[in-house]
C-alpha cells in the first residue's frame, strides 16, 4: 500500500490543482495576518475558512481523483494486491497531499509572521483539524465514486453530502431541537454533534480558542456535559474515529463492485 500512497502523492504534488490550493491558502494566510492586527479575530477567520474549505476541497479532490484515475485503478487492481489496498492507498495518498498543502499554505504565514508564538496550540489544532477534515471528506467522496460509474452522479452525490454536513445539518438539528424544546434534548444534541465531523471540528476549535460566543447550542451542551478539557479530548477523539467511516465504506464497497 505504501507504493500506492507514494505514487498518488507524486502525482498530486505535480498537479496544478494542488499548487492552486496551496497558493490560495498562502495568499489567504498572509492576507489575513497582514490586514488584521488582532490575532484572535484572525484565528476566527481562519477557523471559518478551514471549516468550510477543507471539507469542500477534500470532497473535490477525492471525487476528481477517483474518476480521473479509474483506468489506472483497473491496472492496479489487476496486480497481485488485495482490492482494499489499492483504494485505501489512494485515499491515504490524497489525504496526505491535501494535508501537506494545508500545512505549507497556512503554516508558512503562521511561522513567517510570528503568529504562532502566542497561538501555537490553537494554530496547530487548526492545522490538524483541517487535515483530518480533508481526509474524512476525501474518503467520503471516494466512497461516493465507488457507488456509481456515472461521473456526474458521483460528483453530485459527493457535493450533496458535503453541502448536507457543512450547511443543512446544523439547520436540521436546530429545527429538531426547537420542536423538542419541551423535552430534555441535551443528550440528543450531544449525539447529533458526534454525527457530523464539521460540528465536532468547530466545537473543538472554538473550545480551544475559548470563544464562548461562537459555541452555539450544541457546543454549549458539549461543554456543559463534558467540561472544556474533556470536551476537547472527546471531540478530537471522535474526529479521529470519524476516519473509520470512509475507511469502512471504501472497504465494504470495493469488495463487492466490478471495475
Amino acid at each position: 500500500m505504501g507504493q500506492i500512497i507514494l505514487y498518488v502523492i507524486r502525482d498530486l504534488v505535480r498537479s496544478r490543482w494542488t499548487l492552486a490550493y496551496t497558493l490560495f491558502y498562502l495568499l489567504v494566510g498572509f492576507g489575513v495576518l497582514l490586514m488584521g492586527r488582532d490575532p484572535a479575530r484572525a484565528m476566527v477567520t481562519f477557523l471559518q475558512i478551514v471549516l468550510i474549505l477543507t471539507p469542500l476541497m477534500g470532497t473535490l479532490f477525492g471525487i476528481m481523483y477517483y474518476y480521473a484515475t479509474r483506468d489506472f485503478q483497473e491496472l492496479l487492481l489487476a496486480q497481485p494486491l488485495p482490492r482494499t489496498h489499492v483504494l485505501l492507498g489512494q485515499w491515504v495518498g490524497i489525504a496526505l497531499s491535501l494535508g501537506v498543502s494545508l500545512l505549507v499554505g497556512l503554516g508558512t504565514p503562521f511561522v513567517v509572521s510570528g503568529f504562532g508564538v502566542g497561538y501555537s496550540l490553537v494554530a496547530a489544532t487548526l492545522l490538524g483539524v483541517g487535515m483530518l477534515l480533508g481526509a474524512i471528506f476525501a474518503g467520503l467522496a471516494l466512497s461516493m465514486g465507488l457507488l456509481t460509474d456515472h461521473r456526474i452522479q458521483g460528483f453530485g452525490m459527493a457535493l450533496i453530502l458535503w453541502l448536507f454536513l457543512a450547511v443543512v445539518y446544523d439547520g436540521l438539528v436546530l429545527a429538531l431541537l426547537m420542536i423538542l424544546r419541551d423535552y430534555p434534548v441535551e443528550k440528543l444534541a450531544l449525539v447529533l454533534t458526534f454525527l457530523n465531523p464539521i460540528d465536532l471540528a468547530r466545537i473543538l476549535l472554538i473550545m480551544q480558542m475559548d470563544v464562548s460566543a461562537l459555541l452555539g447550542y450544541t457546543g454549549a451542551v458539549f461543554r456543559e456535559f463534558l467540561g472544556a478539557s474533556r470536551g476537547m479530548v472527546a471531540s478530537a477523539g471522535a474526529l479521529v474515529l470519524w476516519l473509520a467511516i470512509p475507511a469502512i465504506l471504501i472497504v465494504w464497497r470495493v469488495r463487492r463492485r466490478d471495475f
Binding site: Q3, I4, Y7, V8, R10, D11, L12, R14, S15, A68, T69, R70, D71, F72, E74, L75, L76, L77, A78, Q79, P80, L81, P82, R83, R256, D258, F259
Partner: protein, 252 residues
Amino acid sequence: MALVEFRSVSKRYQRVVALDQVSARILEGSCTAVVGPNGSGKTTLIKLLMGLAIPDSGTILFRGTDIRGKYAYRRHIAYMPQLSYFPANLRVSELFALLPRLRRQPANPNPLIERFGIHTYLHKRWGTLSGGMKQKVSLALALMFDVPLYVLDEPTNGLDPVATRDLIRLLTSMLNQGKTILFTGHVMAFVERIASHVIFLVEGKKYFEGALKELLTRTRTSSLEEAAVHLIMNHSGVQGLEVRPQPVRTES
C-alpha cells in the same frame, strides 16, 4: 493442459447479459484470441479472469484453483488493459518502476523500451504522450514481467504498422519460449497471424472454441474475417448457413 478454465461463467451488468454460461479453456503454451462483435463479452471475460469483475455464477480456475476472492494468482499473470489512462503527472520511467515494486517481482523493461522506441519519451509525463506512445508503454508494462500468462485487451489499438509487426515478432518469440497469451482483438489479420486458438463470442454466448484452423474448416471459409462474418450472420439469422447457431466446442 489448461492454464485457465472458465466453467459456466455468467455475468450481468444490470439488465445486460455480458456473459451467459460461458465455458472455455486456455491451454498452456497457446495463443488464444477472444474475438466477437462489439458488446459480445470479450473484455468481460478478461476482467473476470483478472478479478476486476465478479461472476454472478460459474467458476474460474487458474492452474486448477478457483480464483474467487483470491489475488496471489495474479502474480503469474501480466495484464494490459484496453484503455491506457495513467495519472497524467507521472513520468513514463516512474510507471516502469512502480509496477515491479507493487508486484514485488523483477521486471526487464529495457529490451521493450528499446524495441518500441520508448527511450525517447521515458522522462515525459504520461499526459503529454500521443495515443500510440501510450499503447506502446502500456504493452511494455505488461510484457516486461516473466510470467506464464499474458492477458492483453486489444493490444493493437493505436499501434502503427511497424509497432504491430514488432509486437507480432515479440509475441511469437514469447510463444516459442512456452508462454501463454490470451488477447482480445478486432483486427482479424493480427489475430490470424498470431493466434493458435480462438474463442468466438456473440452477445455473451460462446459460439466457437478451438483451433483457428478448425474454425476455418467448420465455417468453410479461408479467412478469420469471413469465418467471423459467417458466425455473426448465422447468429442474427440474416442468412441460413450450414454452421448451426448452437455453440460449438472442439478439442485441439
